[in-house]
Symmetry: C2
Subunit: 334 residues, 2 copies
């Protein structure tokens, strides 16, 4: 920077002003400085700036497991949004599902230099009400509001209700559920909503079978479920497990949707092209991610919290996409 200043015949402070844009600098000086920067290939040292300002221009994302499609889509939206606002994104993956692990990850990130943190809380923690360091603004991407921190997510209960209502509306006596893993928040919520909706409709609540999100687990679960001839409708907690359910049905000679209706969750891109095309609940994770960053950056840049508009809604409504995998139950059943 000193070199640039000398070459341009100005003080270092003026260079700094030019670099940071909007200060009061004459057009003429600005041009001189810019020419000098160009000529010398000057690039600001961000560590020095961070040291002087205490800001880093980076936001951190904490998550369990990057490869869950769900999470990635949020992360991608976060990265895109952050980049658009001039922030970079640091990603941390947490091992265990304890609050301690999450807290450590957040600390690691703040130690590391971030101005704010987004936690994608996909796992059920040992402590139900996550309490995290508050050195920097923090936003949680999750599907419930029971946090101390601002939270954005999907209204997964609404999605599960829509799935159940759709199947009951077709005339099925009840709906069986292939649940996600017990340790997963979305899984818990989808399961709870399924159960509540059945009860509310006065139907029997069959015991759910839990999988682990993988197609294989959906397959295994369905083999058990379909041992009972009376099962006519299955709601799988995600599309991947639904694939397994379809496969099991095929192997057992149950025709979908003739003998069995199947509903998934997520609307992954292959859902319309399965055999048969899958009725499922579409999730708009991009919006969730976008809202998280926007809110976070607003908080970062307006630390008092004033001027940070409350978003219209913290929970995005999913949408039921009806395809060929659902139909009325076979004649003779209800």
């Amino acid at each position: 920077m000193a070199d640039v200043a000398k070459l341009a015949g100005v003080s270092g402070q003026t260079v700094s002003r030019v670099v940071n844009g909007n200060d009061r600098v004459t057009a003429a000086t600005r041009l001189k400085v810019e020419a000098a920067m160009q000529q010398l290939g000057y690039r600001a040292n961000i560590a020095a700036r961070a040291l002087a300002t205490g800001r880093f221009g980076t936001i951190g994302v904490v998550m369990f497991n990057l490869s869950a499609v769900l999470n990635v889509r949020i992360v991608e939206a976060v990265v895109t949004g952050a980049q658009a606002r001039g922030y970079s994104v640091s990603v941390a993956v947490v091992d265990g599902p304890t609050e301690k692990d999450v807290r450590a990850a957040v600390r690691g990130l703040t130690d590391r230099a971030v101005d704010g943190v987004i936690v994608i809380e996909a796992r059920v923690l040992d402590t139900p009400h996550l309490r995290l360091p508050e050195e920097v603004p923090l936003v949680i991407a999750d599907s419930r509001a029971a946090h101390k921190h601002p939270t954005f997510g999907m209204d997964e209960a609404a999605g599960a209700r829509a799935a159940v209502d759709h199947l009951l509306g077709l005339g099925h006596a009840t709906v069986h559920h292939v649940a996600g893993p017990a340790g997963s928040n979305p899984a818990q919520r989808r399961r709870a909503a399924w159960q509540r909706q059945l009860k509310r409709s006065g139907r029997a609540v069959p015991p759910p079978v839990a999988g682990d999100w993988s197609p294989r687990s959906g397959y295994d679960a369905a083999l058990r479920l379909l041992a009972d001839d009376g099962v006519t409708a299955v709601f799988a907690a995600n599309d991947q497990m639904a694939v397994g359910v379809l496969r099991a049905a095929a192997e057992l000679g149950r025709r979908v949707p003739g003998d069995l209706s199947v509903v998934g969750f997520d609307d992954l891109d292959f859902a319309p092209f399965l055999t048969p095309p899958l009725t499922t609940v579409r999730q708009d994770l991009e919006t969730v991610g976008r809202r998280c960053v926007e809110h976070l950056i607003a908080r970062i840049e307006e630390p008092r919290g004033a001027g940070v508009p409350q978003p219209a809604s913290r929970f995005v409504r999913p949408e039921l996409i009806v395809r060929a995998s659902t139909a009325p139950p076979p004649a003779g059943r209800r």
Copy 2:
């Protein structure tokens, strides 16, 4: 840090030594300092450290599109590996496929404070031989070696050859190809290897139909392809498009594998549970990611390049997984 030093009754430098581990400090002083740090809740300011040392403890990942399954798996391996070595990871997503865009992203990242960069080069660039800033070590995750920079990837040609050989071995006269988008490197390579292998085997090379990796595009491509009754074997450039192919076959009343054999690429987790289970080429992206980080970190910590062992192999061999979607052609055809 000064406070810690005062409380522990030592100099700041000694605190620094304790924080950075391995220097020569008496066990007694170390304990005193650690107690003081604990008591004061001291946490090093990473910006100051970076300013003093010129190192950041961060590596950057540049990619087109985070949501491609392929890339995510690499990124996840990179993040995990980096974390294990005490580095954090900054992610940048590039818009366009020009070398300029990539270079800008790398610059942005290095401006931003990274000690090294991994570029996941999934797109075909305008300039075939990527030339990037060399301010920091840089590793490319790609499937060819034609770079100025160290490169790790899959031997995708071997995968495509295996797919073709498998189908020809079953007795198919030739193999049709649903290719990935022209702008994609892996797509190009899979297509080229498919074509070469057919030629080498003295078979006709039917014109490939290009998709865009999505199940929908595979479906569309297959509809066109299967208009010709003579098509008995299709090699799709990824599993998602293979899903679309299976769907199209079902709609057209072609039985798989009775009338038509289908091979995919990637072995995504749903592949064994499609109807029928999909023969495909398994990719070990985790190993690719791991090798990238390991090599990069070695370079970062040993800048002279000495002592950085050349990896056993820069290209991981994929594996053909044979499942029920492939069989000999219907009787009467070849």
